[in-house]
Each structure stands twice: as C-alpha cells, then as structure tokens.
Assembly symmetry: C2
Homo-oligomer: 353 residues x 2
DNA sequence: GGTCAGCACTCGGTAGTATGGAGTGCTGAC
DNA sequence: GTCAGCACTCCATACTACCGAGTGCTGACC
C-alpha cells in the first residue's frame, strides 16, 4: 500500500505555484495513486516525506489543491485523484530524471550486450525491452533517412521483363523498387544503365533526384535508366512516412479496465502516421512528457506519453516514446527512456551509420 | 435480432453425425449466437430454415445436442451456446465457402486497384484490409524465402572500416548485413571480393552457403570476402523466422468483454514466432479453421483461427490468417480470406516474383 | 493564525431480499 | 413423434440496509 519508496525522495521545495507543503502533499498523492490506482485519502499521505501535519490539515490543503485544479474527487467522500495538471506539476518538479532500478539496469545491460543484427531488428527489439521495463506500450522511431544520400545503386534482372532497383543510402539503409524492363535488357544493358544513372544520382538525396537524365545514346539503356529513376522516385514517399516499431501494446489492456478505452487506444497505435506525428509534435513543443489532453489526440485523453530523442552520430534523431495511462510511473518511464535511448544511440553510432 | 440471412441458406442435410433437423437447429443456434453473442433459446430458432417444428420439440432436440456435446447451457434456464464442437460441425457443413457481400467485394477490388509498392508494404496493407472486412485480427505471412537463391551480391563501403553486404534473392527479396572491413579495403578491393564471393554463392540458397572460399591470392580481398560470407551466413536465421504482419489487433478488444482475455490474446499476437507456427501448424494439419482448443495455444482457447494459404507463381506459399473469438462470423471470414488470398497471390505473381 | 482532535455527514460498495421474465424439462393429449 | 400447457429454475434488475472510508467544519490549543 505504502509506495513512498517509489517516489523520488526529493522533499518538495517551495515554488512559484505551490508552497512546499502543498507540493509535498501533491507529490505524495500522485505517487500513491500511481501505485494503487485508488483515490488517495488524507490518511494515506500523513507520513509522506515533507508532510509533517495531521490528516485534518492535509484535508484542508487538499481542498485547496482541488480548488486550484491539481486534484479531483471522483465523488464527495472519496479520496483525491490527480488531474492532468496535478501530474504535470509532479513531472515538472521531479528532482532530476532519477535512475533505473538495479534489475532494470541489468536488463538493459544484458540486452545491449547480446543485441545484434541490422538496425530495424535492433529497433524492434528495443521496443520490446522498453515495454518490459516500464509496462507501457513502447514506440521506437528510427533515425530519419531524409538527409541521407544515395551511396550505391544496382539494377538486378529478376524475370523476363522485370528488374529490381536496389539502392544503398549513405546511412546504411537499403531500399528497393520493382521496375519493368524493356525487351533486350541484358546484363550488359543493365550495367550501362546503372552507370549512367549512378553518375547522376550518387551522393544526391532521395528527395532531390534529377527530373531527367542525359541520354546515353542507346535507347534501350535510356529506357532502363529512366525506369530505374522512376523507381527511385517512388521511394521518396517512404522516407517521409517513417516506420515506427510498436512494442507491448498488450500492456494497454492491463492499464485500463474499460474495454472501450483499450480498443480506442489500440486503434490509434495501429495508425503509424498518427503515432509518428504525435511523437514529433510533442518533441517540437519541447516537451518530454505529454499528459492527457496536452497532446491533441482525443482518444488518448486518458494516456500520457513520454518522449525522448536519441542521437546517432551526434545529430540525426530517432525517437523513443512510451505510452501509458496518465497514472503511469513517470519517474520510472523517464529513467528507462533516457537510459535506453542513450545506449541505443551509442550502439547505432558505433555500428557505423 | 434475426440474422438468418447471414447463414448460408443451405438447408441442412442428413449427415453421419446428425440428422437433418438437428443439423438445422445447430446451424440456426450458431448463426444466431454469432450475431447476438447471447445464449439462444428455443424460441429464437423456431422459424429458422429447415426447422419446421415447435419450440417444445426444438427444446428436446437441443437437450440431445447438449448431451452430444454440441451445445452448452451457461446455466439452467438459459439459452444454449455452441461448444467448440458445435462450431466445428457448423464450419464443416457450410455449403461451399460462400462469397463476400457486395460492399466487401467492392472494398477488395478498390484495394487491389490502387495497391502498389513493394511486397512488404502490400502484405502490411492487406492485413489492414482483412481486418476491416472481417472485424478480426488479420495475420499475413509472406511467401517463404527458404528456397530462394542468391541472385546478386554487392558490398558497399559505408564508413572508414564499415561495409554493407547487400544481397538480392531470386524472389526479389533484399537482405543486408553490416560487416567490418580491414584497412586498405578500397573500392577496387571490394569489387574483387564481391567477384570472388559471387562466383561461389550466386544461385545458391542462403541455407546452403559454402563453409569457406577459395583463396583469391590477395589477403585483403580474402578477408573481405570471408567477412561478407559471414555476413550472409548471419542472414540464414532471418529466413527461418518469417515476418508476419498483424493488422487490426484492436478488434480483439471489441470481441471480448473481459480485459484479461484481451490482454492475453494481444500478448500472443506480439510473439511473431508463436503466431507463425500456429498458422503453419494449422495448415500442416490440413485445416482451414481451428476452433478453441483445436490449436494448442492455451491463451487463445476462446479464439478461432481461419487460415488460407495463397500461392504465388503456382507454388511458393504465403499464408493469411484471421483471428477472432470462437463466435466469429465463419462464413464471412472464410470468404474474405479466400477472396483476398486469391487476389493477393495473383497480384504478387504478376509483380514478377 | 495555524494546527488538529472530534464529530456529523456523505456516499460508494457490499450484502440481502424481492420480483419479473426468459428459458427450461416434463407430461399428457392428439 | 409432435406440441400446448405448466411448473420450475435462475439470472437480471431493483430496492433496501448498512458499513466504512473519507470528507468538511468547528472549536480548543499553542
């Protein structure tokens, strides 16, 4: 029942918004509620750190906190539950990010010791790790390929008139596009087309491909090269719509007891576009946590999102997100996201892309 | 309430197991229950096709069906609910697979008219389509690459000592592996290594790669080639563990009202390995539907799976699966899976792999 | 003036009881 | 073999009572 050890033991200090005691009480209510999911009564707060007053005094303070919008009562004669604003205050006044607990740290270490494989696989598995650590749904968006340039290019004949353009980007990503080949496109023609196309697109970003190519003389070669260029073009869209790896969405079922809520949250999680722009939006607003209605996605009104960017090679950005109920364990989630983000970035950097 | 139109209007015929009337009653109960999710009483069955008897007679038949294990009563004085065996009979005696309804057919047609992109994207989107059509979670497993051979090979330098092996398989799949390069591995060395490696592995299946390579004379070239081969080797595992695209898992939340059930089903859906082997297992047993405990996966005891293979280029197999509650709409699910599978296979075949 | 013990009050949750209705199984007549 | 009629079962629903966790207020104390 008493989960005070879970709280950052930072004794609340006076702030512009709330005096020290109110802050301490609010903190206690939030931590308690995160642990128990039950409305918190004045009695349960009485021996929280920084609160050295009787339950009567706490009650009057709680009433004040309610007037100021930090707490609500589900009904008269029930304990208090934090509002979004209450959580916001709690999150904003955490003493530093805190660290992962011992078993969590160990889990992360082990994971990165034995992790291997290509970037997509790493990201996928990382989402699982994060879900395990935090009991939230985990979102991992890989580094953007937007600024990557074409590193190498190849056209492979697959069938009688079918070819595959394979392009390697400077950041190590590989893309492919199927194209139609004209008759008479033998290996030699393919090679010449590639050479012709390569001259024009290598070291170019996918989004700034040339519109046309210098004719190479041979009409068949030109046709192939044009087809391949068109193939590359069709890849531009993919880069904008980034892939997000979602792990542990089943945890959302444990977090809510209304099936309807679960359903609507899962529906959102299935829409990659929504998820990605949610994360990006939160980041753009300079937040690392968005609570309840702070992010605009209505079906997620009872959820909070923790977002952490991770940097690969200094600059390019990937994003880690954790989605849970508003009463999620913020200190834990923040610590996990940060720790994993840091190690993931490091790992991907040293893998050389 | 009356959903009899949903039922294949096939009037039950006598079988080895059940006489015509019992079969008709069982069919009516199943269809009604699929529609309403409420225990079905004798009154609700009275004007179902093939049942021209009074409710009293139906009651005695129902009692018999219960003794024989096709129905159960949640409690005395409640209607009847089909057992897994009841569903099994229903499914086994559907008159042909039936067809999709008009709007469904239109949805499928539209989808395949505007569908484009590479195979993975197609499969992903197809899972969404199937979920929309059936209100089930949809599973799509792409054609196996097991028997595909190496079609083309390339090593691209990415950083000072980092390279990427890119291999195109005969079925159009592209794989990559990061490798470490020795000092002095310039473009020319890479080209020679590729040539050396290509000679040994082109037209070979990934699972039957040679253990070693003929030395080419130059130690640097040999090192690169060996590293690249090791890279290829690391891909073997990926081929066995196939990727499955899961769409519409949120529908499972609508299907059950116990959050706990939802959670455990979702947990299974997150484990690709389990899902793939479930599908494969059902197929191997020659079934197209597995109901309740028929598949061995315990947390899915209240679920049924509809499985349809789809063939690309005659032989190679992909699989479509639909996961829903045991009271899912089997005729609809079977029709949708078949229709989509057929068109998907056709589409992937003509795309040339 | 802030703190707090004491107290009256509120109200959700649980348990117990009545009632209605959907559904059953059985019986006896056709 | 079929089925109208009937007694019976038992889930849902509604209502009531009651307990207890929790509140707000008051008045005394430092």
């Amino acid at each position: 029942m008493a989960r005070h050890d879970d709280a950052r033991t930072h004794v609340a200090t006076a702030t512009d918004e709330l005096d020290a005691r109110k802050a301490a009480i609010l903190n206690a209510v939030v931590t308690e509620y995160i642990g128990s999911a039950q409305p918190v009564g004045s009695q349960h707060v009485v021996d929280a750190p920084g609160v050295n007053v009787s339950s009567a005094t706490i009650r009057s303070e709680m009433a004040a906190l309610e007037r100021e919008g930090y707490l609500v009562q589900p009904h008269t004669s029930a304990g208090r539950v934090p509002t979004d604003r209450g959580y916001r205050f709690f999150v904003d006044h955490l003493g530093g990010t805190g660290t992962l607990d011992a078993t969590g740290r160990q889990q992360v270490r082990r994971f990165f010791e034995q992790a291997h494989g290509e970037i997509e696989q790493m990201l996928e598995r990382t989402s699982g790790l994060l879900a395990d650590l935090t009991d939230c749904a985990a979102l991992v968006v890989g580094p953007s390929h937007e600024s990557a340039t074409v590193r190498s290019l190849q056209v492979v004949g697959l069938g009688p008139r079918i070819g595959l353009v394979v392009v390697v980007l400077s950041d190590g990503a590989v893309r492919k596009a199927t194209i139609e080949l004209p008759d008479g496109a033998d290996d030699e023609v393919l090679a010449r087309s590639v050479a012709c196309l390569a001259a024009a697109v290598v070291d170019t970003a996918l989004r700034s491909l040339p519109a046309e190519l210098e004719p190479a003389g041979d009409p068949v070669v030109d046709t192939v090269a044009a087809a391949a260029l068109a193939g590359l073009r069709s890849l531009q869209g993919d880069e904008t719509a980034e892939h997000v790896f979602v792990g542990g969405s089943s945890r959302m079922a444990a977090a809510f007891d209304a099936v309807e809520t679960v359903r609507s949250v899962l529906t959102i999680l299935e829409q990659q576009l929504v998820v990605v722009s949610l994360l990006r939006d939160v980041l753009d607003r300079g937040l690392s946590v968005a609570i309840g209605t702070e992010h605009g996605v209505e079906p997620l009104a009872s959820c909070a999102v923790v977002v952490t960017p991770f940097s690969v090679d200094g600059e390019e950005l990937g994003t880690i997100g954790l989605l849970g109920p508003t009463r999620m364990n913020y200190p834990q989630a923040l610590a996990a996201a940060e720790a994993v983000g840091e190690r993931l970035g490091r790992r991907l950097s040293e893998a050389g892309r």
